[in-house]
């Protein structure tokens, strides 16, 4: 057999030795590599991919101009949302793409969005990397500072608003210390699912720093700073955008948390100081104080929240909407309002002051709870004292979680006076009865008795502009675990003073589970619209008539 001969090595001193040494090294490498490969295997990257697909197909059989004015009287629409995430060890990246298509919709598109009938919109893109104690995010991310009084960029499911900060964030965490630096421009989902219109991205600039340290395993002390620059833009006749008003806000604050003091109580205090510049004019500084106490004295639990805001302006977008429909602004805060989430109707908290007290009594081996709640709030706006809003809300409830029955009953009274008037008596029930291992009936009901100052005609006292109306919602359903559910929905309301508007609503909804992959939901009928509020943002939802299918698929 011929040996391999490399002539240039012969020309070197001791070439043959070198040649042999090289052979040894090569073979040793081969041998050691074998051992290394067996005993210390190359770490395989942990790879995963997650795909979430949400597809909605609707047919609107009735859409008068006042409901969704951007669309025809009858129309189909297909909406799709795709979330994709890939993770390779400590690196993950992904995004979200929204697509929509309107069929049979002859409504013209506005000049700014010529593709309003069908389009795909890349909504989110992110890259997240964890390196030791650091975590870096580039692209879209949510961000909350403290209890959301200074900043909360987030998703509001009820309104279909999903706002992120598009930029970069770095977080360092070590033992009891954590620091976050983040900045970027606000990015909202451009397809607005309630009115089914396209919205602009706000592109407001936000920068935040948050530092937190835990001391002696007893309490945490934190400080934060948030800068925001919010532009109100207008579209000129030429189609170009122009900034009309620029508001910059500096918020500095601190917070202290005492969790589980002697296993009997939690205490949380947060303070924020705000300086705002509105188009070059500095406003008087504002501040916001929040206090939360939880006491655990079994069988009693006590919760007390209090707030004191003075000239503290909430930051929200002025994003230009293309439609004439009034859509709510995107709030950049999520401050504790102390309200029940569905009754948080007062968004303007600039001068709000108040407290909430809740006392729970637990019994029947912790299966049952009775609770009493009282809320008082005052202030809200810069108006004169006589016109300030005053809210009293008292309600009580009973909860029971047993093997056969789950009960959640509540009822109460809410009274708002000031520059508007609203008296509400409400009762809610959610009952679930299991009659076999995997079979159950669900009954959900709500009754609201309202008396409300509907319009504000000049010169006529609000008391003379009252209108009483009722809202009844009921749902009776049957669920079969692992298979799906069937529900009948019924609503009645005479909220609208327009007698041509429907008052009775009924629908049927079926949900079919697709194993671990998701579900398919089918809806036929009509549901009432009306006012819905979340975190102080309220909007009037249009009623819906027609059929709707929703497919959620996850791989």
């Amino acid at each position: 057999m011929r040996t391999i001969h490399l002539p240039f090595l012969d020309r070197l001193h001791g070439a043959r030795l070198v040649w042999r040494v090289l052979w040894v090294c090569f073979c040793a490498w081969g041998w050691s590599a074998s051992v290394w490969a067996f005993n210390f295997p190359i770490k395989k990257p942990r790879i995963s991919m997650d795909i979430n697909l949400s597809t909605i197909f609707e047919y609107h059989t009735y859409n008068p101009a006042s409901q969704r004015p951007a669309h025809a009287f009858n129309y189909f629409d297909l909406q799709n949302r795709l979330d994709l995430k890939v993770s390779v060890d400590d690196v993950s990246f992904g995004g979200r793409v929204d697509t929509f298509h309107f069929f049979g919709d002859a409504a013209p598109c506005p000049a700014k969005f010529p593709n309003c009938a069908a389009a795909y919109i890349p909504e989110k893109l992110f890259l997240n990397v964890r390196v030791g104690r650091f975590e870096f995010t580039a692209g879209d991310y949510y961000l909350t500072v403290g209890r959301g009084i200074a900043l909360a960029i987030r998703k509001v499911d009820t309104f279909g608003i999903d706002t992120t900060l598009r930029g970069a964030r770095a977080t360092y965490q070590h033992d009891d210390f954590q620091a976050t630096v983040a900045g970027g421009f606000t990015n909202t989902n451009n397809f607005e699912p309630v009115q089914e219109i396209i919205l602009d991205d706000p592109n407001d600039f936000v920068f935040a720093v948050d530092v937190e340290q835990r001391f002696l395993k007893l309490f945490r002390l934190a400080g934060h700073y948030v800068f925001s620059r919010i532009d109100q833009r207008v579209v000129e006749a030429s189609g170009a955008e122009k900034t009309l008003i620029r508001t910059t806000s500096h918020v500095g604050g601190g917070r202290i948390t005492f969790p589980r003091i002697f296993d009997k109580m939690d205490v949380y205090v947060e303070g924020n100081f705000q300086i705002e510049d509105n188009n070059g004019l500095y406003r008087d500084p504002g501040y916001a104080l929040y206090f939360n106490y939880n006491g655990y004295f079994f069988p009693f639990t006590v919760q007390l929240e209090a707030q004191w805001y003075s000239r503290y302006r909430l930051q929200s977008t002025f994003v230009q909407r293309y439609s004439t429909v009034s859509t709510p602004p995107v709030l950049y805060l999520n401050q504790p309002s102390m309200e029940r989430p569905d009754l948080d109707t007062q968004g303007d908290n600039a001068n709000s002051k108040g407290l909430r007290l809740r006392i729970d009594y637990t019994f029947l081996n912790r299966a049952a709870v009775v609770h009493l709640n009282y809320l008082f709030r005052y202030g809200f706006t810069d108006r004169a004292d006589a016109e300030q809003l005053m809210i009293h809300h008292a309600y009580a409830g009973f909860e029971y979680h047993g093997d056969i029955v789950h009960l959640n009953l509540s009822g109460g009274w809410r009274h708002i006076t000031g520059f508007e008037y609203w008296r509400l008596i409400h009762a809610d029930a959610d009952i679930s009865i299991r009659f076999a291992q995997k079979h159950a009936f669900d009954i959900v009901g709500r009754y609201w008795n309202n008396e409300r100052g509907e319009s504000f005609l000049p010169g006529i006292p609000i008391e003379q502009q009252m209108r009483a109306f009722h809202i009844v919602d009921a749902q009776v359903g049957y669920t079969f675990s692992g298979i799906g559910s069937l529900a009948f929905l019924f609503s009645y309301t005479n909220e609208s003073s327009d007698l041509s508007v429907r008052q009775l609503y009924y629908a049927v909804e079926a949900k079919i589970l697709l194993s671990r992959f998701g579900f398919l939901k089918l809806f036929y009928g009509n549901v009432r619209g009306g006012l819905r509020c979340v975190s102080g943002v309220c909007r009037i939802f249009p009623p819906f008539e027609g059929f709707r299918t929703e497919l959620l698929f996850r791989i």
Binding site: R20, R260, S432, H439
Partner: protein, 227 residues
């Protein structure tokens, strides 16, 4: 071929036969190489040495692959059909930091819920029962509250009044829930095996769902105990 339910116990899976050409054992592999490298001075063996060195490396690397294949069938199955669960670090109600990595070796039932979510509150008592029943066997129930800043103050009182003793973590910013469940429909549960692989997800709650969940927890506990 239909997809196999990843929750099936490993015993029900067909055995994986080793491939003959890659069935070298590591000891034989290294000894054979050593003996042959001892005759390195013979030029006629040099080519063979190169060849064997190269093949040894490839073969033993291949053997590593086959070692996985020879492992209990469930491991292979997991590698093919189960994905690693996204790692996270979150704080609990006391301010202590918890990470998923620290729970490696245990079966983890991860549940996302909120104080305002009625089905979530119906599901939590079942988790408490499972926690009491299977904790000693290696089940760790980790519930993650996705309450945001506005309602997070209500998490502690709710947990206390019902006396839940499983872990309760806070995901106020939604950092973790969006990794597991971008749609953020609540409740949402994920079952993670003792190797840190995501074996099952479940969305929503209707009475009776906990029965299936418990069955799957038992299977994963058996699987963990068999290792």
């Amino acid at each position: 071929m239909p997809l196999r339910d990843p929750m099936l116990p490993p015993q029900t899976l067909p055995p994986v036969l080793p491939h003959r050409s890659l069935s070298l054992q590591p000891d034989r592999c290294s000894r054979s190489l050593f003996l042959q490298t001892g005759r390195w001075l013979r030029s006629t063996t040099k080519i063979a040495l190169v060849f064997l060195g190269l093949m040894g490396w490839i073969g033993c690397t291949g053997t590593q692959t086959k070692t996985d294949a020879n492992a209990p069938a469930a491991s292979k199955f997991v590698a093919q059909e189960a994905a690693p669960a996204p790692r996270f670090q979150l704080r609990d109600l006391r301010g202590e930091t918890h990470s998923l990595d620290a729970l490696r070796g245990k079966v983890v039932l991860l549940n996302f819920w909120a104080t305002w979510c009625a089905p979530c509150l119906k599901e939590l008592p079942h988790f408490q029962k499972m926690h009491e029943q299977y904790k000693a066997q290696g089940l760790e129930i980790v519930t993650v509250s996705v309450d945001e800043a506005q309602t997070v103050a209500q998490v502690g009182p709710l947990i206390n009044r019902y006396g839940y003793s499983f872990r309760v973590l806070l995901d106020t910013e939604g950092r973790v829930v969006t990794q597991y469940n971008p749609n953020r429909h609540n409740p949402f549960s994920a079952l993670i095996d003792h190797k840190g692989n995501l074996r099952m997800t479940h969305q929503g709650y209707t009475p009776g769902d906990e029965i299936e969940m418990e069955k799957k927890v038992k299977l994963l506990l058996q699987e963990a105990a068999a290792k």
